[in-house]
């Protein structure tokens, strides 16, 4: 259709998308610093460069929907409504963290927003998404959707295959969101898949699938709207592949030797935040000053999170063996 996509989405909504991408960016830039200062430990996987995907998708979800993500999930958690301070506290290993300090960066969880992690076995959470969708279906919770984010590297795992087949076979309300940033650690898609068209794979399970520019938050929004509408209406599972790129190394341990600087620079030209900012300014949706205050807002949010996390207590060591077995129902 040739209607102006921005107009279609609306100015207010555009501002929100930009603000959210900026919130993720600022939060994670700070995480990188804090890792250098050893306040954050273990593995830390940054989403920088990929913000348009989580931003476009998460903003379209309802409170009753369920979300599963990978270990590269700070942005997803933040936009799901998990407070910046409880995410930061989690990475500081504090008792007030969204997982009580037991999960860390890779295992952010939040029961109140049905945020099911933070999963660090590649592909391992795809079957869980099928099960969550099955529960919605069997309990007659119409319109509810489970959204499952995963990287393109997971496509090679047997669990991807088993999960997509089960999802299609059982017609469950699940949206599979493939964040194709072209690399699984240092392995390029070319050396991990014999067939590079991932949407075609989904089609081999009779799951409607298409590939979308994941650097353009508007495209992400439009594609996700279509997909969600179909899933909510009972159309069964959907698969969307978002083409994106991570600007940083895989994790803070990654020497990043497997791709050329040029390639990285080329992609940085497509920075989802810079490009969308320019576009909104050009379209007179926002002014430079307004954008600056968005960064300001994000910096404040992040700094407050750091302060709160810094002041937060540690779990007493004598609670070590808590949460191994539940005494009665919790969560879900």
């Amino acid at each position: 259709m040739n209607t102006d996509p921005l107009a279609e989405i609306g100015d207010e909504y555009c501002r929100r998308l930009l603000q959210d991408m900026i919130r993720i960016r600022v939060f994670e830039e700070r995480c990188a610093e804090l890792y250098g200062q050893q306040k954050i430990r273990g593995f830390l996987h940054l989403y920088i460069g990929e913000e348009a995907i989580a931003t476009g998708v998460m903003n379209l979800l309802e409170p009753h929907d369920a979300v599963l993500a990978t270990y590269r999930e700070h942005g997803h958690a933040l936009l799901r409504g998990v407070s910046a301070s409880s995410i930061m506290a989690e990475m500081f290993g504090r008792a007030t963290g969204c997982s009580g300090g037991r999960g860390g960066s890779m295992h952010l969880f939040d029961e109140t927003t049905r945020f099911f992690g933070g999963n660090a076995i590649v592909g391992g959470h795809l079957p869980l998404a099928v099960g969550l969708g099955l529960a919605d279906q069997m309990l007659g919770r119409r319109g509810q959707v489970t959204v499952c984010f995963f990287g393109e590297g997971a496509v090679a795992e047997g669990e991807f295959h088993e999960a997509l087949n089960l999802a299609a076979l059982w017609h469950v309300p699940v949206l599979f969101v493939c964040e194709n940033n072209r690399y699984a650690m240092g392995t390029s898609l070319r050396s991990s898949e014999s067939q590079l068209d991932l949407a075609l794979k989904a089609a081999s399970y009779a799951i409607p699938a298409w590939s979308v520019d994941g650097m353009d938050v508007v495209e992400v929004t439009r594609a996700t709207q279509r997909a969600l509408a179909s899933v909510r209406a009972g159309g069964g599972p959907m698969f969307v592949e978002f083409q994106t790129y991570r600007f940083r190394a895989h994790s803070m341990f990654d020497p990043d030797l497997y791709r050329s600087r040029d390639e990285v620079e080329e992609w940085k030209q497509r920075d989802p935040i810079a490009t969308f900012s320019a576009r909104l300014v050009a379209a007179d949706v926002v002014g430079e000053d307004e954008i600056e205050s968005m960064w300001e807002f994000a910096r404040d949010e992040t700094e407050e999170a750091v302060e709160v996390a810094d002041a937060a207590p540690l779990e007493p060591i004598d609670t070590l063996e808590d949460h191994v077995l539940a005494s009665e129902e919790v969560g879900s």
Partner: protein
Amino acid sequence: MNEETDATTGVVEMTYREAMRTALADALASDERVFIMGEDVADYGGTYAVTKGLYEEFGRDRVRNTPLSESGFVGAGIGAALGGMRPIVEIMTVNFSLLALDQLVNTAATLLHMSGGQFNVPLVVRMTTGAGRQLAAQHSHSLEGWYAHVPGLNVVAPATPHDARWMLPAALADPNPVIIFEHSGLYNESGPVDLGAGPANLDRADVRRRGDDVTIVASAGMVAKALRAAEDLAAGANPIAAEVVDLRSLRPLDIDTLAESVQRTHRAVVVDEGWRTGGLNAELAASITERCFWTLDAPVARVAGREVPIPYAKHLEDAAIPQVDDITEAAARLVAETGGPT
């Protein structure tokens, strides 16, 4: 015999298979969140005919066939549990559960802890275990001990029709993942089931036979063999009174009950169908020794599977797994070497 079965009212004789099927039908009828999924649980009636007739009664959704995708449908079971259902996932045999082990160890067992107590996984997984049917190396594992090693899981092994009937409802009432191991050699065995007993405990061992000379610890398919060994020992030239303890729960282990018994008998034999090295038998020997070192007359004797993939030929398979005589001999030797029966 466990005490419930002493009650006369409502005690009926049924096979282990019937008992399990009764438990499943009852669970499906009494809680609509409960459903069964697994390979060929529907029309086929289950590989061991345990779910026979259930899909006709409860329909294909609640008695749900899955494709051959062990990791996929076990993971889906975890997800469904998180979503508010009470899935009973049947993995055809423990041998194939290796394909789903990642889901059980890395997700089902860790979610509650990783989430700081926010997400529990009320999942029940049933699978058969054990050798003895000439199914050879890929179909004869006894790997319960591995599951019993994992914090975050509960692991039980009903050895009687009564436990087959009443452990399932307890497992479904438990907010945590519970793995139920059913020894494939037990399905045709019958025994008393107290229909009015209600859910059984999932954490205590049970003394199946009393005796003061030696304690024989066994579980699942080995309990019946231990009981027969105890009879032989009692009928021997100079009779030995063996106490037989059925573990019932493999995690947690009820060491108190074992220790109480060994404090009396001063001698222990642990029986394990699985491979000896690093098997559950080792944990039993180690914990009994820790608790009873000063009262033990001799080191705990271990009767376990030989260290070999299970061969097909009957005479070789029989030699590879513990038989009644192996238990009898081990117990007799232990008693003889330590001054004979009291």
